[in-house]
């Protein structure tokens, strides 16, 4: 009994079986289609992702190039130190934001917990220094002065110190040869900020988050040369960060070294003499104010007259630039920038402004010549000069009778210049100026380069001020409300204000005569005056002062010399310049500076000088001393220091004594001379990029004798304090490579971990060091892992079998 067909199948089942088959094959086709979509259509996108996945980049920071003096002695180099860092990202993962860890760390490092807390907090508008203004993802250095013992403690107790790392790293070091800090000229480094990274992202020199960049001084202006190019080692890693192989890698290219024209010995002398002169000035009584001179700041510039190269530049107060290394402490920061600090970060040689006083008279002399006077025309040097009932006196009301311009310079006769300036002022229309006044005195000052930056290769130079007619108007506009508030003028200041309210918009007779002797509203910097006096010495060329002399690449194969550039010519004819030169020699031999150059071998080394004592309202006088020989120009100034020759004279004389080897009696000992001729040759760069330089032992000995042994120089003795070569392991005593294997570490598997020193291959053998006592920067750099992959990947530390 069956209606079942022969095939044993009803139509319903057959149809359903066909349906099943169609369904099954459409499923398989779907898979095939999706596979095609992923692999063929979007394959490129996934290939990129796969590459990003398994490649970890270890950044080998380029060793920063050294800054060397003209003989190759390092002023800034790198030193291997044990740096303890804290990873903010790790700390912030903890419930107490890592407070407990930092407290334990403070105990080990013998620091205050609060101090460490401050160092790892991020800078913002409300957070004062110390704080971290670098990238928050970068390990933050807590100290770079950890002892081997401390570092070992931190490493051995990794479970107690999550996110904390201690390892040798190359840090910037300012060795201060012969005790010369050269602080403001060298500048300092600080970590790159996120904004800077973002800004430089698409340029040809992007920043790494581990980068330090020069914030001032040469470190800043030559940052691009010094920093070099960081290398990247690309490791193929597995999910756990274990190294599977090496990818395409770029070696770190050590930064170029900067050879400067500075001579660290002369720098040491200049710094010491400036300090000494200021100390001495503070012992002197100021009769005008009835108290001792404050001598709150000062500067010295020693310049090569014929090139504008800076041999020495000192600014007082100064500081130890090493304070910035490894993050500045709260105390140091306050000391450097606080209200009572007197701002030692300011480079007074290029940023210090004051009225020039009589050293300005070379400008006024040139202006008089420009106005049509002859150098040998005579003028009455009366004790005083009266304009409209107001008496303008000579210094100590001395009179010299009828003298020519040269003699007026020699004796620094004010009334001669009053007369000249007043005459020109009248010629230009007086209080009702002509439509197009000649303004010789102001124009000449501008032609001398005043009121403009000299263009020195140290950043943040200021331009000073030459108060022209327009400036007077603008200044009056800006201040008239203040001035005109005064109703009943009683004090001197109030009287001045009232007067200014009425006539301050105009160039008054008093303004112009004051101006002619470098008083009034004129402001100049020491380096501007050095440029001018160097130009008088060299026949009229106004050079852009330069500190950098050559940039030498790390391998020593490429030397880019920095040629001196000029920014103008003095507006004086050759013969007139000669007359002026003779007059300035007269200042040194029989004029205002003569008493400071007694016994000077003038026949062998002709000395030229000009003194200046600038009056400043409400303050003590500024001491100016500008001098030059055939080869050097030395300009010194001391704020609230007294008279030009009085306060600055001995210091300048001593600098010359050291330069030329002159003793007090005028004898010349060539062996003692530090630099009888400017250093024209570059220090020898050997084929491996090392610059050979030896300390001047005789000079060091002399310094020590003078000081009773207080000069600290790392070159003292034969054991250099700087670690040399690739001494990451040897010098510090902590094995650079063998970190405790991580818990998950597999035997034989190499692991790249954040901040771990990844072999020295990146920068190994690059040189860039400075030889001798300088730390060779090769191989001391700590490598950093920058994971491009998943951030959740646990970074392991492993001994990696590197040994």
């Amino acid at each position: 009994m069956s209606n079942i067909p022969e095939t044993g199948r009803t139509p319903r089942v057959t149809i359903r079986l066909v349906a099943i088959q169609i369904l099954v094959f459409s499923l398989l086709l779907t898979l095939g289609g999706r596979l095609w979509y992923l692999q063929i259509r979007n394959g490129d996108e996934y290939q990129e992702k796969a590459a990003g996945n398994h490649v970890q980049q270890v950044v080998n920071p380029a060793p920063r190039g050294a800054i060397l003096d003209a003989r190759g002695v390092p002023l800034a180099d790198n030193q291997t130190r044990l740096v303890v860092t804290a990873s903010r990202t790790e700390l912030m993962k903890m419930p107490d934001d890592g407070e407990a860890v930092l407290a334990r760390l403070a105990e080990v490092l013998k620091m205050k917990p609060a101090e460490i807390q401050q160092r790892v907090r991020l800078c913002d508008s409300e957070t004062p220094q110390p704080c971290w203004n670098g990238s928050p993802y970068q390990p933050i250095p807590v100290t770079d002065e950890a002892t081997t013992e401390q570092a070992l403690q931190i490493r051995e107790r990794t479970e107690e110190f999550p996110g904390i790392n201690a390892e040798p790293a190359a840090v910037r070091h300012y060795p201060a040869p012969y005790g010369a800090n050269t602080s403001q000229v060298l500048g300092y480094l600080s970590p790159v900020t996120d904004e800077e990274i973002e800004k430089a992202k698409d340029t040809d020199s992007p920043f790494l988050s581990s980068d330090q960049i020069g914030r001032s001084g040469l470190e800043r202006s030559y940052n691009k040369d010094l920093r070099g190019d960081a290398g990247v080692t690309r490791y193929e890693v597995d999910k756990l960060g274990r190294v599977m192989g090496r990818g395409e890698s770029e070696q770190a290219e050590a930064g170029s070294s900067l050879i400067t024209s500075l001579d660290s010995r002369v720098q040491a002398v200049a710094e010491r003499e400036l300090e000494k002169a200021m100390k001495e000035a503070r012992k002197q009584h100021d009769d005008n104010t009835g108290r001792n001179y404050e001598a709150d700041a000062g500067a010295v510039v020693v310049m090569e007259s014929k090139t504008g190269r800076v041999v020495s530049m000192a600014s007082n107060p100064e500081y130890d630039p090493n304070a910035w290394v490894g993050g500045i402490s709260a105390k140091d920061y306050k000391r450097l920038t606080g209200a009572g600090s007197n701002f030692p970060l300011i480079n007074r040689a290029i940023q210090g402004l004051s009225a020039p006083g009589s050293v300005f008279k070379v400008v006024s002399t040139a202006a008089a010549l420009k106005a049509g006077h002859d150098f040998n025309d005579t003028f009455d040097c009366s004790p005083s000069y009266t304009i409209g009932g107001q008496e303008f006196k000579n210094y100590e009301s001395k009179g010299y009778g009828s003298i020519n311009l040269g003699r007026a310079l020699e004796v620094s006769c004010d009334t001669v210049f009053y007369r000249l300036a007043h005459k020109e002022w009248l010629k230009d229309g007086g209080t009702k100026p002509k439509k197009d006044p000649a303004d010789w005195f102001y124009k000449t000052a501008r032609d001398f380069g005043l009121g403009e930056k000299t263009g020195i290769d140290v950043p943040n130079e200021v331009s000073g001020r030459i108060p022209g007619r327009q400036w007077k108007k603008d200044y009056w506009e800006a201040n008239k409300d203040q001035w005109c508030k005064v109703k009943d003028a009683k004090t001197y200041a109030e009287k001045i204000a009232k007067e200014n309210c009425v006539s301050g918009m105009k160039m008054r007779a008093g303004d112009s005569v004051n101006y002619s002797i470098g008083q009034g509203d004129t402001l100049v910097t020491p380096v501007q005056m050095a440029t001018i006096y160097a130009a008088i010495s060299n026949g009229g060329t106004l050079y852009d002062p330069t500190v950098g002399k050559a940039v030498v690449n790390a391998a020593g194969t490429k030397v880019d010399e920095i040629e001196p550039k000029a920014h103008g010519k003095l507006p004086i004819g050759k013969s007139e310049l000669k007359e002026m030169d003779k007059a300035l020699e007269g200042v040194a031999t029989r004029g205002t500076a003569a008493w400071r150059f007694g016994g000077w071998p003038q026949d062998k080394i002709p000395m030229h000088a000009k003194t200046g004592t600038a009056e400043v309202a409400g303050k003590q006088t500024t001491s100016w001393f500008t001098t030059y020989t055939e080869d050097y120009t030395v300009v010194m100034t001391i704020s609230q220091g007294g008279t030009g020759s009085g306060a600055s004279g001995p210091a300048v004389r001593n600098i010359y004594n050291e330069l030329y080897g002159v003793d007090e009696k005028g004898g010349i000992d060539e062996k003692r001379a530090l630099l009888p001729k400017p250093e024209s040759a570059l220090p020898k760069v050997s084929s491996d990029g090392q610059v050979q330089a030896e300390r001047d032992k005789a000079f060091l000995k002399r310094l020590k004798k003078d000081d009773g042994g207080s000069v600290s120089d790392p070159a003292e003795g034969d054991s250099p304090a700087d670690t040399g070569g690739t001494g990451a392991t040897g010098e510090t005593g902590v094995p650079g490579q063998s970190v405790e294997p991580g818990a998950e570490g597999e035997p034989g598997a190499q692991t790249v971990a954040d901040g771990q020193t990844a072999a020295t291959d990146g920068a190994g053998g690059q040189g860039g060091g400075t030889g001798g006592d300088g730390a060779s920067t090769a191989g001391t750099n700590a490598a950093r892992t920058e994971s491009r992959g998943r951030s959740g990947t646990p970074a392991q530390v492993d001994d990696g079998g590197a040994e």
């Binding site: 009994m1 069956s2 209606n3 079942i4 022969e6 095939t7 044993g8 199948r9 009803t10 319903r12 089942v13 057959t14 359903r16 079986l17 349906a19 099943i20 088959q21 369904l23 099954v24 094959f25 499923l27 398989l28 779907t30 898979l31 095939g32 999706r34 596979l35 095609w36 992923l38 692999q39 063929i40 979007n42 394959g43 996108e45 996934y46 290939q47 992702k49 796969a50 590459a51 996945n53 398994h54 193929e236 890693v237 597995d238 999910k239 756990l240 599977m244 597999e746 959740g792």
Partner: protein, 399 residues
Amino acid sequence: MSTHSYPLGGYGPQRRSAWSKITTRGSVAWRLDWLLLLAATALSCLGGVLIYSATRNRTEINQGDPYYFLYRHAFSFAVGLVLMAVTVWLGHRRLRGAVPVLYGLSLLLTLLVLTPLGATINGQRAWIQLGAGFSLQPAELTKISVILGMAMLLAARVDAGDREYPDHRTVLQALAMAAAPIAVILMMPDLGSVMVLVLIVLGVLLASGASNRWVVGLVTAGAGGAVLVWALGVLDEYQINRFAAFANPALDPSGVGYNTNQARIAIGSGGLTGKGLFEGTQTTGQFVPEQQTDFIFSVAGEELGFVGGGLIIALMGVVLWRACRIARETTELYGTIVASGVIAWLAFQTFENIGMTLGIMPVAGLPLPFVSFGGTSMFATWIAIGLLQSIKVQRPVSA
């Protein structure tokens, strides 16, 4: 047959006659579906290569032996071949009588998983540890017992010629039979296996010729049940994440989203011909978790590219094509139902497994038949091949 024996053996007439018994025209070996066998064997061998590639440097799981997983896979494969042979030898008809016992045994094993004997892996209590590194996943065997049990019930009266289609009562009995192990497996919870079992039930019902109402009703009930499960919060959080993350890996970036994302990167980066065997960076870098089991397809996709991935799909296509042929050509309903159950099982499990590595299906812990590492799955699928072969071999030849 001669009782005479030849001392050297091998070429003796007894041997020859035994050999000829299975090789002569019309014999068992002659009637086997060799294409099906070849395709399944190719998949298993390819699986071995891929497993080796995925595990040779996973030192944390391969006990330091790069061949650890390959050996085990080969062993499972060999056992699978034997199980297939035994199944063919026994014949699906002879098994029909033993179905109640098999069903009972598998249900018992499944229940054992829920006792302290069961082991939990990846949040699923789905294994029974046998010691020496072996474990049993009863859910795999349940698939067979459900197919056989339902087929037995549904085909009984039809094959006897009593009825044209199974009646409602029989269908209800069959569904109840399937429901018991499904309920147990849902408690593990092994959602992947539950999904496969539901699809098997659907395939079986379709092939049995049961009323359309049952088929539609089951699909509706399945959808409704899924909504209910979702709405009632029966599922754990991780299961919901797992489910949703296939479409949007960002939902669960460190969990299942990570897996699918990495698998997709592995496959996508393979391109047309792949990065070369053992050259896959995702594979050697061990970025894809569970790569030797659930995500084995990503190894093929990365290292062998579209060509290799396509080959696996094509081989599976051959297996399913032959299975469909067998289902269609057999004259008895029992065989048709069993074959259809196997088709539904292999087809859906393949689609789900490859689909999840390709990011078009939610992630569920299911092995790729023949290819993935996993003993029980290997045994079960080869028994399934044995069943298919048996249906083909024992097809009643029409006079």
